[in-house]
Structures are given as C-alpha cells and as structure tokens.
Symmetry: C2
DNA sequence: CTTAAAACAGTAATCATTACTGATTTGTTC
DNA sequence: GAACAAATCAGTAATGATTACTGTTTTAAG
C-alpha cells in the first residue's frame, strides 16, 4: 500500500520546508532538522530539494547572499527581499499581476513567473 | 577636468556590458574583453561589476545555472529565462506592471523590482 | 527472512565569487 | 614632463555553496 511514499527523511525534509514561511536555504533546513535527526547529511537535503523542485512541490524564489531560498507555498504570490537582513517575506498575489498572455510571446512557453521586490524591510528601517 | 573618470579597463568593462543584450555573466565579460585586453584579470571584472551595481549603472537580473547575469539596461522591463539554453531575453515593460504602491507596504521600502518569466524559448521549442 | 533498488552519510571535488598582495596605472602638483 | 600618493590592477589563494562519488543502510516486495 506504500510504493509511492517518501522515505522517512525525505518526508521530514519536505515537512520542514512546508511548515515554515521564512523561505529557507538548504543549510537552514539541514541545521533545523539536524536537531531531530542527528545523522542527517547536508547532501541529502540538497538532493531532496532538487527532487522537490523537479516535482514542483517547492519553488526557488530568490538568491540571497549567494544562497538559494526556497518556498513550500507554490501558490501565486510575490516576495520582498530585505537587502539589509536577508529576510524574504511573502507579498499577496494581488500585488503581482502575472499575465498568462506572455506565454505565447515570441514563442516563449512560460512555466512559472517570479516577481521579487528588493529593498529594506520595516524592521531594518526602524532600527 | 578628469577626476571623476573611470580607468581605461573599468570603462571598457562597462562599455562591454552596455553594448550587449545577452545579459552576460562575469565570465562572459571577462572572456569577451580578454581578446582585446590580454592582461585582464577575472577579479577585476568582478570588482568592477560590483562597483557598477552599487552605483546603479547595471542591475542583476537573474541567476542562471549558478551564474549571476547582469543587465546594462536599467530601464524598467522584465526578463524571460530559458531553462533549456540559459538565454535571457528582454520582455517589454508593458508586460511588467510594477506597482510603486508596494513601496509603503508593511513598512517595506522598495528599491527595485525584478519580474522574471521562466520557461522554454522559441528557439529551443522549435528544435 | 531475502533480496534488489532506492536512499543515505560522509567525504571529496567543483565552480562561482571574494580576499589578499605586491606591481602598475592614474591624476595631480610642481 | 618628472615625482608622488591614491586608486586600480594581475595573479593567486581562499571561501563557501553546491554537486559528485562510494560504500553502507533503509525501504518495499516477494
């Protein structure tokens, strides 16, 4: 009755990604899960993240300070990246008018769209 | 009357970036200029690209296969990235409704906006 | 329980980018 | 146009994220 299920570690990696909204890096996922799963390997986290990306279970949303940040929420929405603290915030999809018309533009076949705002977040402005 | 001018190599690096629409990587700039300037160093290209980014003369537009791609055209427009060949194309700004309203959203101060479409380009579809 | 395939840990390798150091160029002042 | 200080550079070493590799462990099914 299994057969199509994920291995225990694979499932935990996906759960960890899906259960946070900080748009984590691979290293964050590794360090966070490492507490529960001491024999976790960083390579395993990378391998599974790549797998999830291929399967469309997660999406890469930004590259912050050389690290790729991913999102377990694959619904249409935009992101705000703070240049100061590196935090990645969700921005409601209403602010991101993704036009499906562009799919036929110049023969391009658009698979997904990424809209990202870069600037300074409220927390960093206040300080 | 000089004083604020760029060094010869710095100017050539900027000219090279500004004169192409392929949205080059640092390595492309290096290899392209290397033909004219045999004693050019890759470190110099990176250092000047970072300088130009700080000065707003160029903007980073995408990260393709681990390489940052830059654009010497700083006017508002979007980009299409082909997942197959890695080419980066300009998409007219009319397709990218960048809302300045988001600047005050949740205390965020937006400096710049990046809208990128990912998919397969016409050339790669045809083949 | 066996067994083959998939997944994994641990480590080494790769590759883009950055840092460092001593030499060269630039702009300025005479 | 020589001299000098600051900026820039070449070349190389270092860093750090990501990927590849190998031998071991887990998984799912018979």
């Amino acid at each position: 009755m299994s057969g199509q299920n994920f291995s225990k570690k694979r499932q935990m990696i996906l759960d960890t990604i899906k259960s946070t909204d900080i748009h984590p890096s691979a290293k964050w996922v590794y360090e966070t899960l490492k507490e529960q799963v001491p024999d976790l390997s960083l390579g395993t986290v990378y391998r599974n993240i790549n797998l999830f990306k291929e399967q469309g279970l997660i999406i890469p949303v930004a590259n912050v300070d050389g690290e790729e940040r991913i999102d377990g929420d694959t619904s249409a929405h935009a992101h705000f990246v703070c240049k100061e603290c590196g935090c990645v915030y969700d921005v409601p999809a209403t602010h991101a008018p993704i036009s499906e018309e562009t799919c036929t533009l110049d023969g391009f076949c658009t698979h997904n769209t990424v809209l990202t705002y870069y600037g300074i977040c409220g927390a960093c402005t206040t300080i």
